[in-house]
Amino acid sequence: MKKTALLVSAVLLMFSGMVNAHGPVRAKLTATIQIDAPAAKVWEIIKNYDDMSWHPSIKSVKGNGSNQKGAVRTLTLANGGTITEELKAYEDSKMTYKYKITEMSSVGTIKHSGQDESLPVLPVGNYAAELQVNDKGGKAEVEWVATYYRAYVNNNPPAELNEEAADKAVTNVLTTGLNALAKKVNPSASPSVQIDIKR
């Protein structure tokens, strides 16, 4: 855990220097964890699109029981916020699915450059992600790749809606989820999530 936290802050520090250097660009954040269990066993826990009970930050999920492309799920977070996501691709044989956020609730507004700016529950724009379990010599490697923009589209974003805020929020969601998943498979494990951010 400590190693992860250090790694994450190092990456975030590197990025804060570049913020505002250019226009909004899409970021690619890869979160990876090794779990000492067969890949199929791990996939079994996460494979149903409307079941995110393995993720502690998500209080409940409303879906339609489908793992078909186009299926929609609405997540209710621990803080009451909601995120609606559409399933973009699903392949059971490859133990993977892809989804994108189509709607988010707001957690308030701030004043910036004379305008009211809504704060989405996850401060990102155009978020899409892929969750995949790979078999690495009998053990599971879970890879969660998120792509997103910062939430603020114009130049000079406020701190709440800049790249750093987006990276921090996504890192937190993915790290919390993967750590909990590893613990669910093996309660005595000391999981370590690797985070890699590129933009």
Binding site: H22, V25, K28
Partner: protein, 312 residues
């Protein structure tokens, strides 16, 4: 029949060897050079500044790569595949194109709302034209008289007179137009509208709006076949291409490609389409007759290739 086919094939092969695709890899700070006929990467060239846009000067045999983070563009010499110059432009250069005679390079600046015109021989700035908000995709008419610019945040297209360097006309299109393309004779202009998930069809001479065609999620860029019959559009969030029939202005097919498809370019000599898949860090080689992917080529991370990126 067999005797006839063989020499034709041989001839085609020698022509094919000339076609190189320059794929900007935004996250890798590099450009992958693909030999399109062989469908493999023949060189990788380091280009700093998050390379994004690509334009080819067929006359002077140069590839221009915009580098938004360095506010400029890089020049690659095609015969030697060496980076020869880096030119400073301004804030955040993204869209880039070149006229058909190969004399002028046009660079759109996302934040300064301008298009800078450079002399391709001296690499000196000739003019700066103020356009709409966040100019992105650009294309030049076949006679080098007009430059078309997508003003992304203004939801509009501007037509610039390349003799006077002034805007002749501006027309509203769908929401957030990004990539644009002309058909071969320059009579029709197509715009990929990212936020309204559609393509606007304009009569290019006077920017008259002819049609709006629904495509997939978050269309990014498009390419038209040499005969003008089909328009291919990359749908970033669907990992597909939409195929539009030009005669009916109807979507007639979709083609599965890689994830986050962005730049797309058409090779008339080979009759092939190439699509850069940002998320997968690959390029899809597409047969535009049968609407199918023929092969997938590994490139560098974050392949973008925004613009016309194939040399002939």
């Amino acid at each position: 029949m067999r005797k006839l086919i063989l020499p034709l094939l041989m001839f085609t092969q020698t022509v094919l060897a000339e076609n190189l695709a320059f794929i900007s890899n935004q996250l890798d700070n590099s450009v992958s050079v693909i030999d399109v006929a062989k469908s493999n990467v023949t060189a990788t060239i380091a280009v700093a500044g998050k390379p994004a846009g690509v334009a080819i000067n067929h006359v002077k045999r140069k590839a221009y790569i915009s580098t938004p983070e360095q506010g400029g563009f890089a020049v690659i010499d095609i015969p030697t595949l060496k980076l020869t110059q880096q030119v400073k432009v301004g804030g955040a250069s993204l869209g880039i194109c070149v006229d058909h005679q190969g004399q002028r390079i046009f660079v759109a600046d996302w934040y300064e709302n301008t298009v800078a015109v450079f002399d391709s021989t001296t690499l000196e700035r000739l003019h700066t034209i103020t356009v709409g908000k966040s100019p992105s995709g650009m294309v030049v008419s076949p006679d080098d008289q007009w430059l078309y610019v997508a003003n992304r945040m203004d939801d509009s297209i501007s037509q610039i007179d390349l003799h006077k360097y002034s805007i002749r006309n501006t027309t509203k299109v769908g929401k957030h137009p990004f990539g644009i393309a002309l058909n071969t004779d320059g009579s029709k202009l197509y715009t990929a509208n990212v936020e309204s998930d559609d393509v606007s069809v304009l009569e290019a001479g006077h920017l008259k709006r002819l049609n709006t065609v629904k495509v997939g999620a978050r269309p990014y860029a498009l390419a038209v076949t040499a005969d003008g019959k089909h328009i291919f559009v990359t749908n970033q969030d669907d990992s597909t291409l939409s195929v539009i029939d030009a005669a009916s202005n109807q979507p007639i097919a979709t083609v599965a490609v890689g994830d986050k498809p962005e730049g797309i370019s058409y090779s008339a000599a080979l009759h092939r389409l190439l699509v850069a898949n940002w998320m997968d860090s690959t390029v899809s080689l597409i047969d535009p007759v049968n609407f199918e992917t023929l092969s997938t080529i590994k490139t560098g991370e974050g392949s973008r290739a925004f613009g016309e990126f194939i040399s002939h």
